[in-house]
Each structure stands twice: as structure tokens, then as C-alpha cells.
Amino acid sequence: MEKRLKVSGVISLIFGFISFCWLLYNTIAFEYVRPKIIQFEDIGVFDDRLMKIVFIGLLFSFFFHLFAILTIIFQFQFFKKTNMLRIVSMCIGIISLISLFVDWAALGDIGKQYKMGISTYGEWTFLYSASVLHGLFHILLFILIFITFRELRKQVQIEFAQKDEIIFCTAQYVGILCGIIGLAVTLFLWLIQAPIGILKNILIPYCIFIMIPYCLFVSYWLIIKRKERLKEWYDEKQFRDVSKSGLMTLVFSLPCLVIMFLINFLNMSPPANMLWIPCYMFLILLIFSGGTLYFSKKG
């Protein structure tokens, strides 16, 4: 296990270095080509080559993300302590990986829209935001690998746990993070009174996008648990914590649901007609995960 952790860490570092160079190159290439595309000036062969390298770099970045996420999973399996840096890195890593596919689509769209004479302002904004996210993930992973190697060098004795609590607690942390981010985005859309037309287009994608880290983590947990019998999935304290949290979620979510219903019924805010469901979903995720973690740590 230790060897696997070291090998995946080294591979992640190599790909990470190449990918980080690509990220720096992207920033320069974007800054060089963007003004020409926005003002619909002629694109030369040199500019075209610059952008092709951006596409090739995507491939390296994709492999970096895969190895990096794998390394974090190995770290979860190896270290028997929940670590906030690891959880945040995992969430940002998954979102950053998905952003790579959107980067690919955005770059393609920029090319097409430039030829059709349509503004590409939105696509550029996304590309720059995604670059910040990729950069953040690179930095987080470098720090994480550095800390891991330092801990491995110290030869920290790690006890084997037959019934693991790390995945259980980490799933709650991820749920809290996803719930907070989801609620923040939903409240932001509600506060700016986003038009219904835009909401119809972005509602489902942003909900899926934010829920992906939690869904992936729960799927990973289910894969681990597949060999165990259903009643062995939790121990008796975990079962009690989940039950108490479920009851708490029900009690807290009902008044919120009534408020949302009243806002809709009295037609006080048009975006609320669409935003109530993500608001309710993220609120439930936040209360349930937060409650389970609270009861679990409280004793």
C-alpha cells in the first residue's frame, strides 16, 4: 500500500509539473489570441498552432487529474485520519476534472463562434475561471504530496481498521462542502433575480456539477461496501448517528419547505419557482451531513 502511494504520488508529480507548465502556457496563449478573436481580427498560422498546443496540453492535464484523484483515494485508504486538505483537494479535483471537458467544449465553441462572427466573451470568462480552479488544484496537490511524503518518511505507524470511520466522516465533510456551495450558488441566483430563461438552461447542469463530488464519494463508499452485508455497512453508533441526523433533517427541512411554498404560492419572487428545488436539495444535504458529522464527533 505504501509503495502504491509513493508510485502514484511520483506519477502525479511528473504529470502535475507538465500540466502546470501547460497551464502557464495557456495563460500566455490566451492573452495573445483572445484580443484578436474578440475583435474578429484575422488569425494566422502561428495563432492556430498556439491553440493546438493548448488542446494537446489538455490531454496531459486529464492524466494528471486522474492520477491525482487516484493518489488522494490511496491516501484515504492509507491514513486513518480525516484531513480537511485531502477532502477539499478531492472536491476541487473532481470539479477541476469535469471542467477540463467543458474547457474542451469551450475552446471548440470559440473556434466555431469566431468563424460565425458571434461573441465569445462568455467562453473566455469560463476558460479563465477554470484555469484558476486547475491552478488551485495543482497547488493543493503539490502540498498534499509533500505532506504525504514527509509523513511516510517519519514511518508513522498506522493501525489497520476493520471497520473504517474515515470514509464515513469524509463523506459527511464532502456533503457539507457540496451543500454550502450549492446553497451559495442558489441564493446568489435568487438574489440577483436571474431570468427564468437563463435558469432553465443552467439549473440542471449546475446542480449536477455541484453534486458530482458527493455522488462520486458515495459511489466509492458503496463500491467498498459491496462485499459486506447491508446490516454491516454501519456499526451501531454510526447507525444511531445517521438516524438522529435523519430526524433532525426532517424537523428542520419542513419549516423551510413551508417558507419556500409560501414564496411560490404568493408569487413573491419569480426565480423561486425554479430555485426552490435545488435550494431544498442542498439544504437537506447540508443538514443531514452536518448533523451526522456532529453526532458522530460529539459521541
Binding site: 493501525e159 489497520f160 471497520k163 456499526d235 459521541g299
Partner: protein, 69 residues
């Protein structure tokens, strides 16, 4: 009334085994053992019996009732 216990002492009497080792032996998480030791969680009869069997003692030797003052 509260449920008190001697698990911590029993662990030290039994080669100073760790909470994790005890948790592995009775099939629960380390957090559960920690909560029982701190009297924050009341274990089921089955778990109490498993703990007693592991230490080779009776349930009453490990768990006792603390009356309210």
C-alpha cells in the same frame, strides 16, 4: 442514571491494547469505542457481551450504573 464502564482500565490490563485494536476485535469503529469509554454512547447488549467476552470478564465487571445524585 448513567452507564459507567471500566473499558479503559481493561484495555490497559490487557497488554495496553489500543482503541483501534479493541474496535477491530468487536467489529465496530474506533469512534464507537471512544464514545463508550467516555460514557457518551450506551452500547447494545450484543456489543456489551462481545466486549465482556473479549476481556474474559462478566458484563457487570465492565459496565456499572452511576446513580443520579
Amino acid at each position: 442514571m448513567k452507564l459507567g464502564n471500566n473499558i479503559r482500565r481493561c484495555r490497559f490490563d490487557k497488554d495496553e491494547i489500543s482503541q483501534q485494536a479493541l474496535a477491530n476485535a468487536v467489529g465496530v469503529t474506533r469512534l464507537t469505542i471512544h464514545s463508550i469509554e467516555k460514557s457518551k454512547f450506551v452500547p447494545s447488549t450484543l456489543l456489551a457481551l462481545k466486549l465482556a467476552r473479549f476481556f474474559g470478564k462478566s458484563v457487570e465487571d465492565i459496565f456499572y450504573i452511576i446513580d443520579d445524585e
